[in-house]
Amino acid sequence: MSEALLKFENVSKSYGDFNVFTDISLEVHEKEVVSIIGSSGSGKTTLLRCINLLEPFQAGKIILDGQEIGYHEVNGKRKRVSEKEIAKQRAMTGMVFQQFNLFPHMTAKKNVMLGLTHTKKMPVAEAEKLAEKWLSAVGLQDKMDNLPGQLSGGQQQRVAIARAVAMSPKILLFDEATSALDPELVGEVLNVIRNLAKEGATMILVTHEMRFAYEVSDKVIFMDSGKIAAMGTPKEIFEERPTERLREFLATFNTGKAE
């Protein structure tokens, strides 16, 4: 297999004395879809936020596209890179949040354009075209000039996905993208993610949608108390259920096993 697009090398994260996760190593290859499952508090969201450098981490290396991100060595000491560098590295990843986090004072189109014009320094006309293209791709061609407050949760999350994808990141990170949605709105968002997977986007999904994870993933990671407790193909994780802890966890989801 080719060199991994994203690599964790013995990454550890703690808040004071509390270890969120310890000694995590994993690889994500280009065009791979990886789902991370696990109970709340298992460290999966924090792990995702470390890739986006929204959380500092204390040890180990995260390597994205051959480049270590977030930290570098200065005279043998591990130091966080400059704010400017961090902003650049963040633009290599796209993040979709549980709470959508759209900019409430900007229209859907402006939400998508902001990163293009300011981070990518794209001319406004070009950014506008690209924003329109992506908003249409997520089915919101009629809502481009609406403010987030005028959109449903599902529509807001689709704008947020367009905002992330338009930046053409190397990897897309979804942090429980459907957890804050009313049940009847989950489908429209999952459809968008499914299409992105089909088009070959590299993605990491932190999710509670077990059936969806089974269907769309190439690899599933089960996290438990800050460790990777199991990792494998969806078939291995959801059907063979290699560990006792995983069996217990999946038993709490009645949709856990694919029918």
Binding site: F97, N101, L114
Partner: protein, 217 residues
Amino acid sequence: MNYVFNWTVIEKNIGAMIEALGFGLLMAVVAIAAGSVIGLLLAFLAVSKSKAAKRAVQLFVTIFRNTPILILVFIAYFGLPTIGITLSKVPSFVVTLALYSSAYMEEVFRAGLEAIPKGIIEAGQAIGLTRWTIRVTIELPIMFKKVLPSMGNYLISLFKDTSIASSITVGELTYLSKCLTTQTFRVFEIWLTTGALYVVACYLIAFILRRIEKRFV
């Protein structure tokens, strides 16, 4: 009631009174504009990570918000010259009002900044925006919308505080009225008119602010 009203003094001086009111308004606009800029900088310091900066802002606000404006004006105009800082009365008053208003504005802006959900700022970081861009394109517009109504209240209140300038003989409306009363003794007519002029001015300010609010919110 056997007081006989005589409005001649008003008829003769209404033009000068309105002019003096306008001068007060001008001082207020300059002072509050400067105060807002200072207040905004202080607010950003107050929400920064530096504890020293936070404490310094707190100290500043405590001093300027808890001293009556009249005392601040006296300290600035009568006190500072004794240590070699001499400003003529108008600049002295405008600077004092600017600092006084900056303490109030800092509190308003800080509350507005703190009310912005952290996730929205993280979303800005996630698309690679620099701290400065996030500040200008995300935090400031959201914050201004949130604080516009309470800012309006302070603007009106601070405008009324320009009457304090009369205590160091700055030629705004209250000082002019004081002079007119000593010349004519038409005390009631003059102060009623003065009060009415402030009410009309404040009402107009409130009206304009409401229009602005409607447009932005």
